[in-house]
C-alpha cells in the first residue's frame, strides 16, 4: 500500500513536469504555428547549463538556475528564424521536420561536446533526495514536493499571463486567427518572437525541475522526453492547453505505476502506446484539437 502511494506521489511529480513541457510546446504550436520537437532538447541543454555553472561556481544554485533559464530562453528564440519561412507559409508539418533536424544537431552537440556525452549528475542537495518528509512509513522527498508545486506555480503563472494580461489576449487572438489579430493591430511578428521566448523561459524552469527529479542528464534524455511530449500532445489533442495538462499528469502517473508493477522497460512503451491508441481510435485526441 505504501509502495502504491509512493508511486502515486512520484507519478504526480513526474506528471507535473510533463504537463509543464506540454504547455510550452502547445504555446509554440498555437501562437508561432510550429511543432517544436526540439523543445525537449532545449530543456536538456538548460540542464547541462545548470550543471556547468554549478561545476564552475562550486555547487551554487543561485547562479545555476537563472543561467539555465536564460540559456533556454535564448536558444529557443534563436530557433525562430529557422522556422520563420515555414511558419509564414503555414506549413506546420514542415516545421515538424525542421524541429527534428534541430533536435539532431542539439543531440550531437550534447553527445560530442558536452562532457563528451557522459551522463552528468546533479548533487543530491539539488534533488532533495536526502531530505525527505515522512508520513508514517511513506517518504516523500522535498524535491518531489518542490517539483510538483513548482510546476503548478509555473503553469498557473503562465495561465495568468494568458488570461489576465493584454499580451495574453494578443497571444490567444493569434492562436484563434492570425489574420484578425493582425488586423486589430496586434504586432504579430513580435508576438510570435515573444512566444519563443516565453516557451524557452518555461523550458528553463522545467530544466531545473527535471534535474531535481531525475538527478542526472544525458544526450538521449532529450529524445526520450521529446517523444513523450509529442505523444501527450497528440493524445490530449493538438493545441489543447487544458487537455495537455491533464494528459501530462496521466502519463506521469501511468509511467510511475507501471514502473512499480510491470517488469523491465514497459513504462517507456506507454508513450508509444498513447500514440497508437490516439491514431487508431481518436485522432483528434481525448479532448479535441484546438488548432
Amino acid at each position: 500500500m505504501e509502495a502504491l502511494i509512493a508511486q502515486c506521489v512520484n507519478g504526480l511529480a513526474v506528471g507535473s513536469i510533463y504537463a509543464l513541457i506540454v504547455t510550452g510546446f502547445n504555446l509554440l504550436l498555437l501562437v508561432a504555428g510550429v511543432v517544436q520537437y526540439s523543445y525537449a532538447h532545449i530543456i536538456v541543454i538548460g540542464m547541462y547549463t545548470a550543471w556547468f555553472v554549478m561545476q564552475v561556481t562550486g555547487g551554487g544554485l543561485l547562479l545555476a538556475i537563472p543561467s539555465a533559464i536564460a540559456v533556454s530562453t535564448v536558444v529557443s528564440m534563436l530557433t525562430e528564424p529557422l522556422f520563420r519561412p515555414l511558419a509564414r507559409k503555414g506549413a506546420v508539418n514542415q516545421t515538424f521536420v525542421m524541429s527534428i533536424g534541430i533536435s539532431m544537431i542539439l543531440t550531437h552537440v550534447m553527445a560530442k561536446h558536452l562532457h563528451q556525452g557522459i551522463p552528468i549528475s546533479f548533487p543530491d542537495a539539488l534533488s532533495g533526495r536526502t531530505a525527505a518528509i515522512e508520513f508514517g512509513v511513506i517518504a516523500v522527498s522535498k524535491g518531489q514536493i518542490f517539483v510538483f508545486f513548482g510546476s503548478i506555480a509555473a503553469v498557473a503563472a503562465f495561465m495568468l499571463l494568458l488570461y489576465r494580461t493584454m499580451m495574453g489576449r494578443a497571444l490567444r487572438a493569434m492562436a484563434q486567427s492570425p489574420i484578425i489579430a493582425k488586423l486589430v493591430g496586434v504586432p504579430t511578428v513580435r508576438m510570435s518572437m515573444a512566444s519563443y521566448g516565453i516557451a524557452g523561459f518555461l523550458g528553463g524552469v522545467t530544466a531545473v525541475f527535471v534535474a531535481m527529479s531525475l538527478g542526472s542528464a544525458y544526450p538521449a534524455l532529450a529524445d526520450s522526453l521529446g517523444i513523450k511530449v509529442i505523444a501527450t500532445v497528440l493524445f490530449a489533442g493538438l493545441g489543447n492547453l487544458n487537455g495537455g495538462l491533464v494528459c501530462g499528469l496521466i502519463l506521469g502517473m501511468a509511467e510511475s505505476l507501471t514502473t512499480g508493477y510491470l517488469p523491465g522497460q514497459w513504462s517507456n512503451a506507454l508513450a508509444f502506446a498513447m500514440i497508437m491508441v490516439t491514431v487508431m481510435f481518436k485522432p483528434q485526441g481525448l479532448f479535441g484539437t484546438r488548432i
Binding site: M166, R169, A170, R172, A173, Q176, S177, I180, K182, L183, V184, G185, V186, P187, T188, V189, R190
Partner: protein
Amino acid sequence: MEGNRSPILSVSDLSVSYGLISAVRNISIDLYEGEFVTLIGANGAGKTTFLESVLGMHPAVRGRVFFQGKEITNWSTDRIVALGLTLCPEGRGILPAMSVLENLQLGAFHHRRHMPESLEKVFELFPILERRRHGRAGNLSGGEQQMLSIGRALMAGPKLLMLDEPSLGLAPIVVTEVFKIVTRLAELGHTILLAEQNAKKALQYASRGYVFETGRIAFEGSAGELMHNEDVVRVYMGARTNG
C-alpha cells in the same frame, strides 16, 4: 470640396496585386477630417483589397498612402493601427471564442491607457455589449457582432474608421440600425470610410462616394451626384440588393 485643409487620408495612384492578378489599380482617394465617404461597387470590385491595403495588410505594387500627412505606404499593420487608422472587416472579424469584453479589450492594444474611458463610451453607444460583456462573442447575433466590431475599432481611439460591408448578411431592419449608428459616429466627429455593395443605402447616408469597378475608380462625386448619375443608377441601384 474642403479645399484649404489637408486630407486626413490621401491615397495616390495605389496598385495592389495578388501575385500576377491585379486587384486594384491606380486608386487615388482623398478623405478629409469629419467626412463620411463611401466606396460602392459590386462584389469583387476591389473595395476590400483597397481598405486592407491602406491598413498595410497587402504590399503596394505602386502608389503611396498618406495618413495625417505622414507616409504610411507599406508600413506594418500594427504601426498603422497605432496611428489611429482602424478597420471593421467584412464579416465582422470578431473572435468568437473570446468574450465580448475581451474582444473590446483587444481593440485597445495600442490605446491601453485610455481603456476605461473607451470602454465606457463604447458601452454607452452599445448597451447590449455591456449587458453581454462576459458572454462568448460567437453567441451574439449578426447585428450585435457588427456593433462589437465597431466597438472594438473605437477602443483604438481611431482618427479614421473604415468599415467593410457592415450590412453584409444582416436583416434590413438591422442594416438601418447599423447605418444609424455609423451616422451617429459621424455626427460625433469621427471620419468614416465605408465600403458597401448596397449603393442605395450607402449614398443615403454618406456625403460623398467613389464607385469601384474591376479594381479601378469608375465614378466619383457627391452622394447627390452619384444618385442621379444614369450609369451608376442603372448598374448599382436597379435591382434589389441581396439581403
